[in-house]
Symmetry: C2
Subunit: 527 residues, 2 copies
């Protein structure tokens, strides 16, 4: 049952006068529930409540926090209304819903597993040494940074939203979360928020560990990142939105860490042989990667660099035909669709050739492949910006030197993909190196879509792919965005966090006097 209200801890609140409804992008019609935009007062309440909850949440055991994460996954899996609402609000289909839900709940469970292994605590103990003069016993572990605000993405109403990777990693780190619910799927957001609240109650989490605020306007997000109780932000979305909030976060009296994943062009490079061997299969794979779910993935390949050769014309035609053969799909919402139409049709005018699958359905994106040459690409800054939707640009380069020039002109990317045969690797070594310097994840002979949730994933990259290339938004190490080290000097055992006490009561790996993964208890000199 949707209420349209804000969840401020356990309290339902809708005191504002501004309301909005979400829209079914397939029909263009408003959905029934009326959502209450959070007021300044409600923002304050949620933030102060999170600040109050923080020390209580930090003092829960790792096992209790793991139970909470698993309970959220269970409650999401058990929610009967979620599938219909997800599809209604996003225009995405039930197959996608099931994939995304399982990804979301598996992600929550993977954090629950991970935190119990204890590595993330980075427990480190240096006992007082008789020869260091200082006689300091020094111990360190990682602790939550404080309340975290999460901005979900339009294109992943579950996996990068209310209970997505940012929320999961913040809760795993012991940080209360305030979600700024996405205005394109506030109903899905409320259902997931209900699941989180039920899980919090079931596992006795402190009041204020989670809040969910509705907002159609930008101002609620602006208020949230500027609130003094908030200590970090996780954001997934557009460059314009992310950069504006980043600027506010770093200009606060107390600047705070702001991690945004803001998308990318995900350049793909095709060697001469890649265009000749298995070219049909490659064209089909790329076409799917570009058009699947209307190309609304941050890892959609938006640039395809081709080293011109005898097979290039045929390959480009084949790719264009594969893309035109894919059905156009409903886009997430009118704003995104209009933006897509405007930018893609502007760009099409600049190309030498374009493959466009026109559509009469008003909610659909139009699958588009544009062809330009290297000089066109270098001289058109618009081609260096992500086009969110089923659109990609082939950049036909006369020779490898031109490809290098184009890569040097690129900004930071989530991914970089190179297709070549093994015997061509030596020839392309410089390219591999150049692309790596710009990317968070490198892919060999594959497509960048399909972000595997595992510990080896880097979902992030140099600016503007993310605001900080030192972190990932996906995988268990995403927690690190919300953790800080705290050291304890000559602390009595009774005051130390459990992970740092002499006796290794949590049975976790620790670094003791520089020796890693030492599971033993601490033996102190002369005690």
């Amino acid at each position: 049952m949707l209420t349209g209200k804000n969840y401020i801890g356990l309290n339902l609140s809708g005191t504002g006068t501004t309301t909005f409804q979400s829209i079914n992008p397939s029909s263009g019609e408003s959905l029934a529930t009326v959502f209450f935009e959070a007021t300044q007062e409600e923002v304050d309440q949620a933030c102060v409540l999170a600040e109050t909850a923080f020390p209580l949440f930090q003092s829960t055991s790792i096992g209790e926090r793991a139970n909470f994460l698993v309970a959220i996954a269970e409650e999401i899996d058990a929610s009967m209304e979620l599938e219909e609402m997800y599809c209604l609000e996003s225009g995405l289909d039930t197959t996608r819903f099931r994939v995304e839900r399982s990804r979301t709940t598996n992600q929550l469970r993977s954090f629950a597993d991970h935190i119990q292994k204890g590595y993330w605590l980075e427990a480190s103990i240096d006992t007082a040494q008789s020869n260091n003069g200082l006689q300091q016993d020094l111990r360190r572990c990682m602790e939550g940074i404080g309340p975290v605000v999460v901005f979900g993405a339009s294109n992943f109403p579950l996996a990068y939203s209310t209970a997505g990777g940012d929320t999961a990693s913040a809760l795993a780190a012991g940080c209360p979360v305030i979600v700024k619910s996405h205005p394109m799927h506030p109903g899905t957001g409320e259902l997931v928020a209900q699941a989180i609240i039920r899980a919090a109650k079931r596992t006795n989490m402190p009041e204020g560990v989670f809040s969910n605020l509705n907002s159609l306007s930008f101002t609620t997000g602006q208020k949230l990142v500027q609130h003094p109780s908030v200590k970090a932000v996780g954001f997934t979305g557009s460059y314009s939105g992310g950069k504006a909030l980043f600027d506010l976060s770093v200009r606060r009296d107390e600047p705070i860490p702001f991690f945004a994943e803001m998308g990318s062009l995900n350049p793909v490079f095709l060697s001469k042989q890649a265009q000749s061997l298995n070219s049909e299969e490659l064209a089909e794979k790329l076409a799917i990667s570009i058009t699947n779910d209307a190309g609304q993935f941050c890892t959609k390949p938006g640039l395809i660099f081709i080293e011109a050769c005898i097979d290039s014309e045929e390959f480009i035609n084949s790719l264009g035909e594969h893309i035109m053969a894919k059905t156009n799909k409903t886009m997430l919402g009118a704003g995104i669709l209009n933006n897509f139409r405007r930018t893609s049709s502007d760009l099409v005018k600049l190309g030498t050739e374009a493959f466009v699958r026109e559509s009469t359905d008003k909610g659909h994106g139009t699958n588009t492949l544009l062809v330009v040459n290297g000089n066109d690409f270098l001289s058109n800054p618009q081609m260096h910006e992500e086009v969110f939707g089923p659109f990609s640009i082939v950049v036909l380069c006369s020779e490898i030197g031109m490809i290098h020039k184009c890569v040097r002109s690129l900004k930071g990317q989530l991914t970089g993909t190179i297709h070549c045969e093994k015997e061509e690797i030596e020839k392309y070594k410089g390219l591999f190196e150049l692309v790596r310097q710009k990317s968070g994840r490198m892919i060999y002979n594959g497509v960048p879509t399909g972000v595997r949730v595992c510990g080896s994933m880097t979902h992030g990259g140099p600016f503007p792919a993310s605001t900080d290339p030192r972190f990932t938004a996906v995988g268990v190490d995403a927690m690190r965005r919300f953790l800080r080290p705290v050291s304890y000097q000559n602390y009595p055992d009774i005051l130390l966090p459990d992970c740092l006490k002499d006796k290794n009561i949590l049975s976790i790996p620790r670094r003791i006097n520089g020796e890693m993964n030492n599971y033993s208890d601490v033996q102190k000199n002369g005690e």
Copy 2:
């Protein structure tokens, strides 16, 4: 032999027309060497050279990098001119020189040891699983972020300067370093730069791995942090300097990570019993910590909160007398001294009582202890700012509630210290928790000065103690400021970094399919 020139890789350059000399703070006289302020062109040269050196430096082996770090330590130890120049430029004595030099060279050696253990690579491998559908083999490791600019501190001409912790951790991470030499010790800086250059030659490091630029003005630093080739910054110094450069770093077209350690007030809390038992010993320890080397430590205790009791008056008098009994010392330079005199004498007017050891020597700081009450502290924002020098404020609080109020009003701190007997811990639990939330390092019954260089050290903390509480500037994990994760998907073995190849040729700990510290080779399904 000093040249006064800029070291741009192996090239000595002094093309500018602006020059300056360093000053002996004991005599007020200028030292002989004339230093050439780096020009815009020289800044560009150093940055572009560092960018060119970056991939070459990244491709050196870990052993080669370790040899480079050890060679720097050896060259510093072997430098015959260093001691005299250090003392002349800083006013610090030879005992301090020897302690700081050994700290600096031990630090370099500790990074050399650490990188060879391989943990910092965070090598992680998730092999393709037949049941994950995606068939992705995904591997990740940490790599250098790119060229790093280092701003050294006035108060540690060796350990936090040219070859200090920031430089050592950046070089350990495989990042070329450009040092903005500190204008108060450019001679010491040049001698250390020479040592680094000699070490780089001896160990065949790429040209441009290190540059050292002279500068008296702020503009050289501003140019450096804004240069597009620079990818991260390490800074140790004042809030005003650090914050101004932070603002420039985050306002670039490509914002970059900027880590500044900007000092702190390092509050100390004394329970009732702490004022009664061993009070003489405690007063002496605190007096040394406040006045040693003219109190010019970022961890100097600048605030001493006292819960008023029958012994408070006696304790405060005793502490004041101990501080007045310490000899006033030469401060690092005229600017710092004048700033100290102005701020400390302004503050003295606001207190109820002050202990001041007056001095006739013009280069000396005046040891000062000010006494105020809790309400004075809460209402005077000046008392919440660091006074760099031999100065501390006793805040006498009528009761623990007032102490809590004062702590809540504090900004972020490098350290927080609590003195109490074991049986008082329960009573002060709330205080321990409150102070921890504001601090990077907690100390029980000790003093905050004396930063042990070890893996368990956190030298950093919530803003403004540092610009990012998720990192430390001291200890081997300081490297993490300059590392980013890069993932490789379905990469052929030949293209993978050594640490991620199937065969564990570096014999390092790796995470394989979620299992940590797995030293084995990778077994792939069906291969």
